[in-house]
Subunit: 305 residues, 2 copies
């Protein structure tokens, strides 16, 4: 079975790991949000790509939900001693990806090529693709002014009240090689249980990808990020409230509109009204949980084919 | 007393630490070789400046003679796992200087400004100056072809036979702000016990500095890097042999020519013939050693004033 997934960071990566491990998917392509990418200390940081790579490679920190397991922090200590900025927590091992990526971008490699090289070096069987090789920057209009995503998410810890979100550069960004083909050629397409507004919307803001999502003959199933009216992690529900959106699967399904055909949602929440849905326990703590959710998603999607 | 020192890496830094700690010098300026500087993984590395900063800040690794004490290596492990180059040993804490320096250079700061900011952040009372804010690259013609300094020094571990040395960019490089003033305004100028051909020559290849060394009214005293016919560390004597130079203080004094007025040398070696000299024990292991050598150098230099 060929599967394509639109994916953000932590929650999405868990679902992808479940798909990888569930035994039902031979050919897996992950199309990852790069709207969070930014330059920090001159280095190109791709937080969601790195989270997906770390998760699939078994290198992710299972407790903090970002960064590497067994990470050290000598770099950040030294930066602090020199009066440099320490608000963004760059771990020592994590730096390797940012430094190598920046050097390879500078010599003309694309983000897609670099990501493929990293995945290959770590022996991953999953095709991990950026949504675009072009720069797309998620920016938030807030009560503290316009903030780049990482400033909002990390430095301000999602505290500012969000008024609107834009994806600078998305209008002219082309889909990264392989993304449209993966969506069009898939047997099933998933929208991972990531933040719809901050992690999935940037991907759909790339018009070629949005178009492929509408045109593909594969069933498109979203896994809702809500569990008991809350997101497991991150500002999804706070953001929905600030944007005046009712916190419900109905709102999320309506937001995705004709991009999706069906939704897998947690049994603690009401199903969306106007599209086919299946209720389940979508909390993913252990690897067993992830595999179970992935299997349910695959089985449900097959009924929609 | 105002002192200026021309200085390379480890050996020179030890002498500078002695000057700092000896209690005889109020105003100390170190003019550091940047011919070893290079770009690695897109980062600007200044090995000799960093060695001087680490040594003065008490952060230098006392055993290996380069890098930081208590260093961690997560970055290099991760680079290796990704198939990146690992021949140049970038420590995690060490990376902070390279990353910050590169980011500050990219925004238009000079190497001198950046070095001053680092020294200030670490509370150093010594003025540490690059020889030039312009790029000067030490290159070696060898039996294995032309090699950049770090390729020769680190990757090839000084094994290739050197035929000649050049300092690319030196012809047009201007002396960094403060260097000429420090030499002209000093009571004493020292040439540290660094490699004359690889660490001091690049500094003297900057014509404004060479001119100031000849014009200054301060006595200029070189501390010989030879101890019992050997350098404590590095390829000094191997290089002299390959270049057909007799390994002696006489050769080194002749090489410096009218740049120096006198030489402090180790008692195990014969003095240079044609300039005033003083013999001493110049081996610097402990801090006490460094202070003793610095005091002897200062006292000797005063007799030449």
């Amino acid at each position: 079975m060929k599967v394509a997934v639109l994916c953000g960071g932590v929650g999405g990566a868990k679902f992808v790991l479940g798909l990888r491990a569930c035994g039902l998917v031979e050919d897996l392509t992950v199309i990852v949000n790069t709207g969070d990418d930014f330059r920090h200390l001159g280095l190109h940081v791709s937080p969601d790509i790195d989270t997906v790579l770390y998760t699939l490679a078994g290198k992710a920190n299972p407790v903090q939900g970002w960064g590497r397991d067994g990470e050290t922090w000598s770099f950040l200590d030294a930066v602090r001693s020199l009066g440099g900025p320490d608000w963004f927590k760059l771990g020592d091992g994590d730096l390797a990806l940012h430094v190598l990526r920046s050097a390879m971008l500078a010599r003309g490699d694309t983000l897609g090529e670099i990501t493929a090289q990293f995945a290959h070096a770590w022996g991953l069987k999953t095709l991990v693709l950026p949504m675009s090789d072009d720069a797309v920057a998620t920016r938030l209009e807030t009560d503290r002014g316009t903030l780049e995503f990482q400033r909002y998410f990390v430095e301000h810890q999602c505290r500012p009240k969000v008024q609107s979100i834009c994806f600078a550069g998305a209008e002219t960004a082309t889909a990264a090689p392989g993304t449209v083909e993966a969506i069009m050629g898939a047997d099933v397409v998933f929208v991972a249980p990531s933040n719809p507004y901050l992690s999935i919307d940037p991907i759909l803001a790339v018009s070629e990808i949005a178009r492929a999502m509408r045109l593909t003959r594969a069933p498109v199933v979203a896994i809702s990020p809500l569990i008991g009216g809350q997101a497991v992690k991150g500002p999804t529900t706070k953001l929905m409230a600030e944007l005046g959106i009712a916190i419900s699967n109905d709102s999320i399904a309506a937001h995705y509109g004709d991009t999706i055909d069906a939704m897998l949602h947690d049994a603690r929440d009401a199903p969306p009204r106007n599209i086919p849905a299946r209720a389940s326990d979508t909390m993913m703590r252990s690897l067993d949980d992830k595999v179970r959710v992935a299997r349910e998603a695959v089985v449900f999607a097959k009924t929609r084919a």
